[in-house]
């Protein structure tokens, strides 16, 4: 029986294993150095804040693995011998494989700052990172967070829940400036200030200074400002966790290089998820996409290939979501930080400054290209149908209620949004009633 060995028990590795089991009887082993069982990395913040226990973040009960004949091995892989098809583990043993899947994830970026390896200087990616945060929290009065992105804002929320003050250094002039357009960035910046986050825009870290015990005591910014703190969060993105592959045969760039079938240059070795980098992305997106959803979709695809149904990775429309303190964010299609030349936009913001809808469309044919929404939930299927079905702005504005996914009784803003649209375009359109037949594509 063919033995598939998967390194990494995150969403990418686990999805691959589950789908191989659905499709075949192959022997499956998942190796992880991090935890015994798969857990949801995205929920680490909720453990710290007391919303959940670690147990609650496991999507499957512990009996699941044995029942589905998926072997779990807690070990660290030291190196791979692709000729003998063998792994060397840190417990001194070796493990033979027929097919090897690298789903080893990533680690927080460190850009060579002096003092970046001091105690209480870290990112938030692994379970061990969470344990370290717990360890340092009781003796932390102020934390400095470097890098204004999703994990940074999570860390800020975590510390504030324990009454620890947070200073947030952001390189751009607004929050998540590399991804969010200016107005959305400002909206979230305002919300962070409402939660008493001490935001410093256009500020970068220069140096981290240690106390006599080797723990951070303050940092110095590039404009030579000194900020006292007992913890530094490094949340300026992540990069593939591939140090253990450095001297091997597997081709690497920033990540493990793969083709559209998620195959590496080495036979019977595949890579996916955070650690995989496409030579050229099959649908023209970024070659390195480190989000939960792409890890899961790659896993479903790779399982097909491994089970003799060779399948290329073809992610559909881009989507993502997040939550910044109390404001939820969803995005469908492409809304770039800067409007492209061929694009036009429609932006509506509620007077409370916490809810907005941003639509980007093709300037010439008015077809929808992307949606950003803050504080309004939208229906994934409907948005996808609009974008891939190339619906025009007029159509979308009239059918906006079909896409509303907010809970029942929530205030709906479609009419207000339409008024602004009509004013801007000199049109006289009306919002149509929600229609289940359209929503579920019945008929």
């Amino acid at each position: 029986m063919e033995h598939v060995v998967i390194i990494g028990n995150g969403i990418a590795g686990t999805t691959t294993a589950r789908h191989i089991r659905k499709l075949s009887d192959k022997k499956i082993t998942i190796i992880s150095a991090e935890t015994d069982h798969f857990f949801s990395r995205t929920a680490l913040m909720y453990i710290y804040m007391g919303h959940m226990k670690f147990e609650d973040t496991k999507p499957y009960e512990d009996w699941f693995w044995k029942k589905n004949r998926i072997n779990l091995l807690r070990a660290f892989v030291q190196n791979i011998d692709p000729h003998k098809k063998e792994l060397k583990l840190n417990n001194g043993t070796t493990l033979a494989y027929d097919k090897l899947v690298l789903a080893v994830g990533s680690k927080p970026n460190k850009f060579g700052w002096p003092g970046q390896d001091l105690d209480a200087v870290q990112g938030l990616y692994s379970y061990q990172d969470l344990e370290r945060m717990e360890k340092y929290s009781p003796t932390t009065k102020r934390a400095v967070i470097v890098g204004g992105g999703l994990i940074g804002v999570e860390m800020a929320e975590m510390f504030l829940s324990r009454g620890i003050k947070v200073t947030f250094l952001v390189r751009e002039n607004r929050f998540w400036g590399g991804v969010l357009p200016e107005k959305e960035g400002n909206l979230i910046s305002r919300h962070l200030k409402e939660h008493h986050v001490d935001l410093h825009f256009e500020t970068e870290l220069k140096e981290i200074i240690a106390d006599e015990n080797g723990r951070v005591k303050h940092i110095i910014t590039k404009n030579d400002k000194q900020i006292e703190c007992e913890f530094v969060g490094l949340t300026a993105g992540v990069s593939p966790n591939i140090a253990f592959l450095k001297d091997g045969d597997i081709a690497l760039n920033r990540g493990i290089l793969v083709n559209e079938f998620l195959e590496t240059n080495t036979p019977d070795i595949y890579a996916l998820g955070d650690c995989a980098e496409f030579h050229k992305h099959p649908t023209g997106r970024k070659n390195l996409e480190q989000v939960w959803y792409t890890g899961r979709m790659m896993g479903e695809t790779l399982a097909q290939t491994i089970c003799d149904n060779k399948t290329a990775y073809r992610p559909g429309m881009w989507f993502n979501s997040a939550k910044f303190f109390d404001i939820e964010y969803q995005t469908y299609g492409w809304v770039f930080a800067q409007l492209q030349n061929s694009e036009a936009e429609f932006y509506w913001e509620h007077q409370n400054g916490k809810i907005c809808l941003h639509l980007v469309y093709d300037k010439t044919n008015k077809k929808l290209l992307g949606i950003n929404t803050f504080g309004i939930r939208m229906r994934h299927e409907v948005c996808e149908r609009w974008i891939t079905g190339e619906k025009t702005m007029d159509y979308i504005m009239q059918h906006l209620k079909d896409a509303n996914f907010d809970p029942e009784f929530f205030k709906q803003y479609e009419n207000e949004i339409m008024n602004q649209y009509n004013q801007k375009n000199g049109t006289n359109l009306r919002v149509k009633k929600r229609d289940w037949k359209r929503i579920f594509a019945l008929n």
């Binding site: 804040m49 007391g50 919303h51 999507p59 919300h191 559909g316 989507f319 109390d326 299927e381």
Partner: protein, 540 residues
């Protein structure tokens, strides 16, 4: 703000201390007149008991515990003598009349009934305590302080907890909500309270007296233990409804649902029935449907309704229609939530007082399997018991297939009605979550669930591929549904146990879940395709 909160806590604890302390005060002076009245009302025929009690108790003063246990001790002693006599005469033979007479003198002692039926009325009539003489003051010191303190403790959170949003910080780190000592203390208090209420009301006479002025004002009758319980229920729901408003003020579904379920408790389960009594009509809760209301078809209830003219007849017909027509039709259009989390009193308490404990429900597959057996078993048992009751009512036969109908009824009343629904159902909030009864025991929930599962427009829609498997939805599902296991597959949630509280949708950080009523074709998508990749379709 923090100071106000702490003062509130102190006042609230003071109120509870008065409540608990009142159990131990007061003295019971047994006058000849009151004793004779009681003997007559109870129809006690044992001359041995009457003589003993007259000699040893009448004219003396006792504490509640002493008087109650003394009465039971004497009753037991007399019954023993009567039963010895019966045995003796039976062996001798031929003295049937004498034996029958002796049987009628035996006082049957069952611990679960003797206090509430035998000693409680006597103690109630003989009490002399400061609470009895200052009932409004007693009300203020117990209920008043607990309510005022509770509100002062809760309302500052509006400011203290920051901008509106999900407020679950530290739930698993605080002993009151993580099965720590705080939670255990509350559980012990609840469990003891329910035991006293159901089985030992003779120790709750002062708290009952504290609610007397309100009862007199509403129905004109003096307060019973059930009136006190109703008032406690309403007060607790009111205070904790305010907590819900503070906690979920950003979520209009929760605000409206809380208001409606609170209204149905106050109006339909408390004020309207008490008003009906004032106008000499039967005490009737128009929303309490069979089989949750398992005494609906008991002979005393049917007779009382039939004796109450047109209104009584209407109540009888409405009660039957509610179960047979209104419930299934409403569940088809709205899901079982219209009852369980919008109307029902048990649900009302669970959604208010119980909200801080919702994450303690067991989400394991094992718990789900157990739940499916036991809740349907209770439904079957409730149906069988009611069937026997109706058979007895119409045929006059006291036994069905060799089983006494009354013993079926009292078995159900004790184990299901009192122990399961009350002691475990509410007492175990801080241990097993706030829906123990609704999830494992309620026969009405089982019935509503069957309809919801088989034919309904209700479902929780999963939003495409946005789930990140974080587990908030499952953790905060009070019914122990593993919501995530569906959401992460892109599958809609159609489960008979879902009461539609809407909290999974509220706590989801990615906007994945929405409760909705929509056309019921394709409601259960068993073959979901996660959106986001082209070409492959998979069975998840």
């Amino acid at each position: 703000m923090k100071l106000i909160k702490n003062i509130g806590l102190l006042i609230c604890i003071t109120g509870f201390s008065f409540f608990i302390g009142s159990i131990f005060i007061g003295e019971y002076h047994l006058s000849q007149e009151k004793f004779d009245n009681w003997i007559n009302n109870k129809g006690i025929k044992s001359e041995i008991f009457i003589a003993d009690a007259s000699n040893q108790l009448v004219g003396k003063t006792f504490s509640a515990f002493a008087l109650s246990s003394k009465l039971i001790e004497l009753a037991e002693k007399s019954s023993e003598i009567h039963q010895t006599n019966i045995q003796k005469w039976q062996t001798e033979g031929g003295q049937d009349e004498k034996i029958n007479k002796e049987w009628s003198k035996v006082i049957w002692i069952d611990w679960s009934k003797v206090h509430k039926d035998f000693t409680f009325p006597l103690l109630q009539s003989t009490i002399n305590s400061s609470a009895k003489n200052n009932q409004w003051l007693a009300f203020f010191l117990t209920f008043g302080l607990a309510i005022i303190g509770g509100l002062l403790y809760i309302i500052p959170d509006f400011i203290l907890l920051g901008p509106a949003g999900i407020k679950n910080n530290k739930l698993f780190q605080h002993s009151a909500t993580n099965r720590g000592w705080g939670g255990m203390l509350v559980a012990a208090f609840f469990i003891i309270f329910y035991f006293l209420l159901y089985f030992f009301p003779d120790f709750l006479i002062n708290p009952i007296l504290a609610t007397n002025p309100i009862s007199l004002a509403l129905s004109g009758n003096s307060a019973s233990q059930w009136f006190m319980y109703g008032l406690i229920y309403c007060s607790v729901m009111t205070v904790f409804a305010v907590k819900m408003y503070v906690k979920y003020r950003h979520n209009l579904y929760q605000v409206i649902r809380t208001t409606v379920v609170w209204f149905f408790q106050i109006a339909f389960a408390f004020l309207i029935p008490e008003m009906l009594v004032r106008f000499n009509q039967p005490w009737y809760d128009f929303k309490n449907a069979w089989p949750l209301n398992y005494t609906f078809f008991f002979d005393w209830n049917i007779n009382s309704l039939l004796d109450s003219g047109n209104l009584g007849l209407f109540m009888l017909v409405w009660g039957i229609l509610l179960t047979l027509v209104v419930i299934p039709v409403m569940v088809y259009f709205l899901g079982k939530r219209w009852y369980c989390s919008w109307v029902c009193g048990c649900g009302g308490l669970a959604e208010t007082l119980g909200d801080p404990y919702r994450h303690l429900s067991d989400k394991s597959l094992k718990a789900w399997k157990f739940e499916r057996y036991i809740i349907h078993l209770v439904l079957v048992f409730a149906t069988v018991m009611t069937g026997a009751t109706l058979y007895t009512y119409f045929s006059g036969a006291t036994t069905v297939l060799g089983v006494q109908t009354t013993s079926l009824q009292s078995w159900y009343g004790f184990w299901i009605g009192s122990i399961f629904a009350g002691v475990i159902g509410t007492g175990f909030y801080p241990i097993m979550g706030n829906r123990v009864w609704c999830r494992f025991g309620c026969p009405l929930a089982a019935y509503l669930g069957l309809v919801q599962k088989i034919k309904s427009r209700f479902r929780i829609t999963t939003n495409g591929g946005q789930c990140i498997s974080c587990g908030n939805c499952s953790t905060y599902c009070e019914m122990g549904i593993d919501v995530r296991s569906y959401a992460q597959k892109g599958q809609n949630i159609v489960r008979s146990s879902c009461v539609g509280c809407g909290v999974c949708s509220a706590v989801c950080p990615r906007g994945v879940l929405k409760l909705e009523n929509a056309p019921d074709i394709d409601r259960v998508n068993d073959n979901p395709i996660l959106i986001g990749k082209e070409k492959i379709t998979l069975n998840s």
